[in-house]
Assembly symmetry: C2
Homo-oligomer: 251 residues x 2
C-alpha cells in the first residue's frame, strides 16, 4: 500500500494533490479548519471549525468533527468530488437523485493524506435476526410444542411473515421475530399480518399471532394482550455461534 502525506500544504498544493487522488480513485483524508454548507433534501450550515474530511474511492464523502459517530455531513456512494482554489482550498461534492451538494471551504489545511488501499475481504456476521429465524425453522419446538413450519418468509401483500405454520391443534399461526426488546411497532407489524390473513381467508379461523423476542416494552405488552397474541421469550444468546450450547441455553 502506498500513501502520501502533505503537512501544512498551501491551497494550490491541495488542489493539485487532491484532484489527482480523486482521478486515481484513492482514499483521501483532509484535516483542517473549514466551514461546511449542505443543500439537498434538507439544508445545514456549519461555521468554521476543525474537521476531518474523508473521500473514499467509491464516492462516499464524510465530514467528521471531534465527536459523534455519524459524520456531521456526508454524501453517498457515487458522489462526484471537485476541488478548486477560491480564496482558499474548496471541496465540492455533488450527488444526484436527489440532487445534493456539500461545499467545504478551508481556512487552513493542516494535513492532506492520500492512501491507495483496497479491501476485498468481506465481513462475517453472526447473531442477526435471520440467524434466529433459521434456527427456529430448524427447531420449531422452540416456537411451540408441536409447531409445524409451513413457510419461511411467507410473502403477503402487507409484507413478509417471518414464519408461517400450524400449531399443535392445526390452527394457522403467524410468528414475528425480533432480535431485541420489542416495542409497539413489532406488535403492530404482527397485527398487520394476522389481520391481512384473516381478510384473505374468511373461511378459516383467525390465525394465532406469536411474537418472539428477548423481552417486551410496557406498551408492547399491553398491545400483545389487547390483540390476543402470545409472547414467547427468545434468550438473547440463543443464536450464539457456539451451536452446541443452544439447547441448554434455551431450556
Amino acid at each position: 500500500m502506498k500513501y502520501k502525506i502533505e503537512k501544512d500544504p498551501d491551497p494550490n498544493q491541495c488542489e493539485e494533490i487532491f484532484s489527482e487522488a480523486v482521478r486515481r480513485g484513492r482514499m483521501i483524508v483532509v484535516v483542517g479548519r473549514c466551514s461546511v454548507d449542505y443543500e439537498g433534501r434538507t439544508q445545514s450550515y456549519l461555521p468554521d471549525g476543525d474537521r476531518m474530511i474523508v473521500r473514499k474511492p467509491d464516492g462516499n464523502f464524510l465530514v467528521h468533527t471531534d465527536e459523534n459517530r455519524k459524520p456531521v455531513n456526508w454524501q453517498p456512494e457515487g458522489s462526484s468530488c471537485k476541488s478548486f482554489v477560491d480564496d482558499g482550498f474548496v471541496l465540492l461534492s455533488e450527488s444526484s437523485s436527489p440532487d445534493e451538494v456539500i461545499e467545504v471551504r478551508f481556512d487552513t489545511v493542516y494535513t492532506l493524506s492520500v492512501y491507495s488501499i483496497s479491501d476485498d475481504r468481506s465481513v462475517e456476521k453472526y447473531g442477526t435476526e435471520k440467524n434466529i429465524q433459521d434456527y427456529l425453522v430448524e427447531n420449531p419446538e422452540y416456537i411451540q410444542d408441536g409447531f409445524r413450519v409451513i413457510e419461511d418468509e411467507r410473502d403477503t401483500d402487507v409484507g413478509a411473515i417471518d414464519i408461517f405454520g400450524y400449531d399443535a391443534d392445526g390452527s394457522p399461526t403467524i410468528v414475528e421475530i425480533k432480535r431485541r426488546r420489542a416495542g409497539p411497532d413489532a406488535v403492530q407489524q404482527l397485527r398487520r399480518y394476522v389481520e391481512n390473513f384473516e381478510e384473505k381467508h374468511e373461511d378459516t379461523e383467525r390465525p394465532n399471532g406469536i411474537l418472539m423476542a428477548p423481552s417486551l416494552t410496557e406498551g408492547a405488552e399491553g398491545q400483545v394482550g389487547r390483540y390476543g397474541f402470545e409472547f414467547r421469550e427468545v434468550p438473547e444468546k440463543m443464536y450464539s455461534t457456539d451451536q452446541s450450547t443452544k439447547l441448554t441455553d434455551f431450556t
Copy 2:
C-alpha cells in the same frame, strides 16, 4: 491546532504514541493492514485487509474500509481504548451496557496520526419533519380549508399525534406528517392513533385521519383507501428556509 504524524511506525512506537494520545483525549487516525474482531450484541470477524481506524476524544471508535458510508465496525461514545503490543500492534476498544469489544490486530501500520482538534460550533439544520409540522400549525389552511388546530404533538397512550384538530364540519381529525414518500408503516401509525381515539371516545364519531406527505407508495395508497383516510400532498419544498416562497410553492 497541533498534530503529529508517524510514517511506518513499529509496534512499540505505535503503542507509545497511541496510549499517550488517548490519555490526552486526542483525535487519532491509524491506517494499516489489520484484522478486526467484534463481539457484543452480535459478532463479526474481518480478516486481514487495509483499513482506517479513527478514535475520537469522546470515545467513538470507527473502523472504515475503502467503501461504504458506515464503518464496518465501531464502538459508541464513551468507549475505552487500550493499545498494546502482542506479536504486533493491537487496539482494544471496550464499551459497557451492553458489553461489547472490538479488537484490531495490525499486521502493518502505515501511518499513525494524532490531532488536537476541537469544534464547539453546532450545526444549523433546516427542512426536518418538525419544520413542516410547525409550519402547518401556523398555517392550518394547508391541512384543510377551515381546519382548526387544537393540539400540536398530542400525547396518547399509543404515541404522540402530530397534529390534532377539527375540520370545517367540527369533526375530530388526526393528522400524521411524513417528510418524504410515505409507506405502509405511516398509514398504520395513523390508524393506530385513529382507532385509539375511537376506543377512548366511544360517544363521539370516528375521527378523520389525514396523512400528509410528498407522495405515497403503492401499498400505502391501498391502505389509505381501505381505512378511509385522506392523503394530502405536501410539496417537497414547502419547508424551504426562504419563508417568502412558501405560499407560492404550495398553491
